[in-house]
Symmetry: C2
Subunit: 356 residues, 2 copies
DNA sequence: GTGAAAGCGCTAACAC
DNA sequence: GTGTTAGCGCTTTCAC
């Protein structure tokens, strides 16, 4: 921490030219070479660096974008954040991380707080959505891009994925490898992902292709390992008339890990006695033992797309609301296939295989 | 995105009072109740919300703190970020996430960029440090807190931990459970953590208590699972004259997971044939199978401490540079103890046990 | 190509 | 307790 910073005014005085010329010289907009040299020299001598706040006030742009999620600890959001940062930083934008809290109410508050104009745009991935939130986003004074549910009809930019279809891919894969009695460990139904995935599971297991087999859902309190462990214990303690479960579909990778731990407690081998699939295709799932078959929802892609979208909006591209969809795809790994001892590789993007 | 936002001036006109009174009324500083009511009503009618930029320019405070790390995907940094956010948000501070890049040079650039005054302070955890960086931090126009190496002598606020001692705890634990031939999988030596951990391992294994046993280091290219897997393959393919390795100390949890995967490839059971310890006590280590014995370096605590420190500094607390140390402690889990089938619990903070 | 001046939205002296 | 006014640092008309 040293002496107070130099202002443009001081640079101007030092160079012996006007404030306006100094500004122009530093931006290279319509100034003679002599002027540019002179001003640059003065700026260097003073260690001048332009003040972001003064500039923001004048230009009405902060060069900041907010990214808001319920829980920044969740690996999916971390992947999104990384991707968003990678897209925005080269354009000179900073990323402000915010927390929505678990409820819609606090998310609405957050969107309203955009009124203080500290960012040029917002990327938000709400766990739950209602009319008040939709309305708040519509009224927001800066562009908002939603990652999650498609909100195109509501006139809101959104980046979505078809997690219901993704769940279908997981079920189809399990049926294909001969599993017949499939349990589903889902998270809370009142969340956007929870609801979509339940729809996907119900649709997949009531399709003709699934006839004659057994399907059953158990709901975890949260999308975490701990909640998944508890839910799986409940699920696996029941034995359907059709026979014991031979597969479990989990609504995300963390729940899937909980399921595998529960299987271990009960002496069930994975995938031998119980095949398990996750969703989100996280790093942790790739390195877990057994590595996790998982439905990729393209977290990084969704982050990138959202960042690009908000960048377009901030750049005054006035178009109707856009909806970008990232297709889910299944990545098959050890938790649904017999592992070969020598095939235990590191985090491989190579073993991918698209299903359906 | 709707109509342009209302300004304080407009609220003043609407209320039929002066600009200053409006400001005062809204802040509750020396205004009559009647004035407050009147102004509040006008503000509400206009949906006024104060402009953060105008206020920042005037107050010379942005209410933003930057958090900069090389790789925001690393679970340790995510934990720090969460803790930092939790401390700062209640004080009205936003968190700006920045990337230092892997080299010292880009970190120096980042510190210099503080000159544009977009944040009131910085928390940075550099992987590598040199004189130029120390000097840049000293010259920085806003308070900077370093998480990592102690920089008290250089007059810089820092939050550190004794990872060398932590490594000693891991080695002591392995010796205690009867392991005699211990390998060490470290990350790059030219990083601050890499160097410290190597020092710790060398010290622990050259202490009298370790006499007559075998110690050997293998260096991974990076602190990742993939690099750990490759390094462990190299290490375990060698058989010391004293006999095969019966334990591996890894410099962090990600490396440790790579080690366990390598052990699996070679048919070595963990912890039966090979006991493995990690460091950082991450979430992923807790849920891994086998769950990871790990040296906690108090990531969340360090984040909290750094946030508190930067908060004190921006609050004009002028004191000599502070150095806060968070003590490491060993958390024993399955990877160094025989697991009981029914003891495979969820992420437990309960099974902790301090060593030494 | 250069300079003078206005003004972005806000807070804090300073008078009354 | 209230109003008037200056000014934070910058960009951008507008005249010349």
């Amino acid at each position: 921490m040293s002496s107070s910073r130099a202002t443009l005014m001081q640079v101007a005085e030092r160079a012996g030219v006007s404030l306006a010329s100094t500004s122009r010289a530093l931006h290279g907009t319509g100034a003679s070479q002599a002027m540019v040299d002179r001003v640059r020299a003065a700026a260097a001598e003073l260690g001048y660096s332009p003040d972001a706040i003064g500039r923001s006030l004048r230009m009405k742009r902060t060069f900041q974008i907010a990214f808001a999620v319920a829980d920044i600890g969740n690996p999916v959001y971390v992947e999104m954040l990384t991707a968003i940062h990678e897209v925005l930083a080269p354009h000179g934008y900073r990323v402000v991380v915010m927390s929505t809290g678990p409820t819609v109410g606090t998310t609405v508050d957050l969107v309203r707080s955009l009124g203080s104009g500290f960012v040029d745009g917002l990327i938000v991935s709400p766990l739950r959505t209602d009319d008040a939130l939709v309305e708040a986003i519509r009224q927001a004074p800066v562009p908002v891009v939603v990652i999650g549910r498609s909100l195109e009809k509501q006139g809101i930019d959104s980046v979505s994925t078809d997690s219901a279809a993704g769940l279908g891919q997981a079920v189809a894969h399990l049926v294909e490898i001969g599993r017949r009695r499939i349990g589903f460990v889902n998270g809370p139904l009142d969340t956007t992902p929870g609801a979509a995935r339940q729809r996907g599971f119900d649709a997949a297991t009531s399709a003709p292709a699934f006839a004659g087999e057994h399907a059953e859902t158990e709901r975890a309190d949260d999308f975490t390992v701990t909640a998944g462990l508890a839910a799986a214990r409940r699920l696996l303690s029941r034995t359907p008339a059709a026979g014991p479960f031979d597969a479990v579909v989990a609504a995300n990778d963390l729940l899937a890990i909980g399921v595998i731990r529960a299987a271990g407690e009960l002496g069930l081998t994975v995938p031998g006695a119980l095949a398990v699939t996750g969703m989100d295709d996280t790093e942790i799932g790739k390195v877990f033992q057994p590595s996790l078959t998982s439905v990729s929802l393209g977290s990084a892609d969704r982050g990138r797309a959202a960042a690009q979208l908000v960048l377009d909006r901030v750049g005054d591209v006035v178009e109707p609301a856009q909806q970008i969809a990232i297709g889910p795809h299944l990545v098959v790994r050890e938790s649904t296939t017999t592992p070969r001892a020598d095939a235990v590789a590191g985090p491989p993007a190579s073993k991918e295989k698209s299903a359906r």
